[in-house]
Amino acid sequence: MRKAIVVLALVGIGVMLIYAVGEMPPMGDSGNPDKVHIAPRYLEHGEEEAGASNVITAVILNYRGYDTMGEVAVIFCALCAVVAILNREKPGLSRTSMDVSGVKASVVVRTTIRFLVPVIIFFAVYIILHGESTPGGGFQGGAIIGASIILFTLAFGLPESTRKLPLRFRIPLESFAVIAFLAAGFTGIVFGVHFLTYLMPGLSEYAAETIRHIMMMVIEIGIGFAGGIIFTSIMFAMIREDQCELQPDSP
């Protein structure tokens, strides 16, 4: 009986959805509302309205700021879930994947990585800070930071990595993106306008623009560094989980 009800409900919903698909405008048609109204508006007024010459940053941080805030919260929740299930890393137990395969990273690899990691992090910071005007931004820069730390961990092992990035340093940074976003959002409420409004009323144009600039910068930096550190923490937790299943020193 319950199965019959479930099947009937699913069929009903399916019929409604298929009917709704028939009502939708044709895919890729140049007369669709998003092509007529939204995209030209973003392209023409993005810079003055959203305060970022890179239209993608304007869309991510301003037009769709709520969406981005949700994404940041989702990444943070992913870390919370991983930590809740796998627990934090325990460097004493861990061996990196290279140790497991029986091959330690050679001197050449370690020297190259020691030379490359600062360059990669420098590039990531450039991408984070320059996301407003050129392609890039917090998410991309954060991914690069995470990748560079993963590279370092593969070559030098988890104990060395966790000594360089201890837990007491990572825990405050992990929530930094959400906190930065909320702080920027509530600034608008303090000034008496909507949540996540960047242009504050009652100020001179120059002051308002400067404050908007600073708020976007803080959010980008928050997303970048918090994202990178969250990827790192997830990887640290997963390394230990991987290695616990392997028998030590078995060929």
């Binding site: 029986g102 091959v103 050449v108 690899v109 190259t112 060929p251």
Partner: protein, 118 residues
């Protein structure tokens, strides 16, 4: 340096790069095992890309882009050579056998443990 000499050098460097890329691709497709494939693959990245970027640098002349190209060349040289080294070394250490004819024992013949590296 006249512009004709610059163009000639550009063509020479560009053609060298293209030649190395063709060789690298053919080698990657035709060579029998990991070690011999690694050889043309890394040549492509180092000599091929570096020659092409040098040709680009010659055409750009003195500019801020020249500095960026130098950084690109440096990164290409360092990363592709060392990643090739890492792949080859870990393959050797984990016991990937090199290609050999049936019945012919390949070069280091000190028994199986030579290939496991443990």
């Amino acid at each position: 340096m006249g512009s004709v000499a610059k163009d000639v050098l550009t063509v020479i460097f560009g053609l060298t790069g293209v030649l190395f890329f063709i060789g690298g691709t053919v080698g990657l497709l035709r060579c029998p095992d990991l070690y011999s494939r690694l050889h043309p693959a890394t040549k492509c990245d180092t000599v091929g890309s570096c020659s092409i970027t040098i040709a680009l640098a010659l055409q750009i002349g003195l500019d801020i882009a020249l500095f960026k190209i130098m950084v690109v060349i440096l990164l290409l040289l360092v990363t592709s050579a060392s990643s090739g080294h890492a792949i080859g070394r870990s393959a050797f250490k984990t016991g990937v056998m090199p290609w050999h004819k049936k019945g012919v024992v390949p070069w280091p013949l000190k028994g199986e443990d030579r290939w496991t590296g443990r």
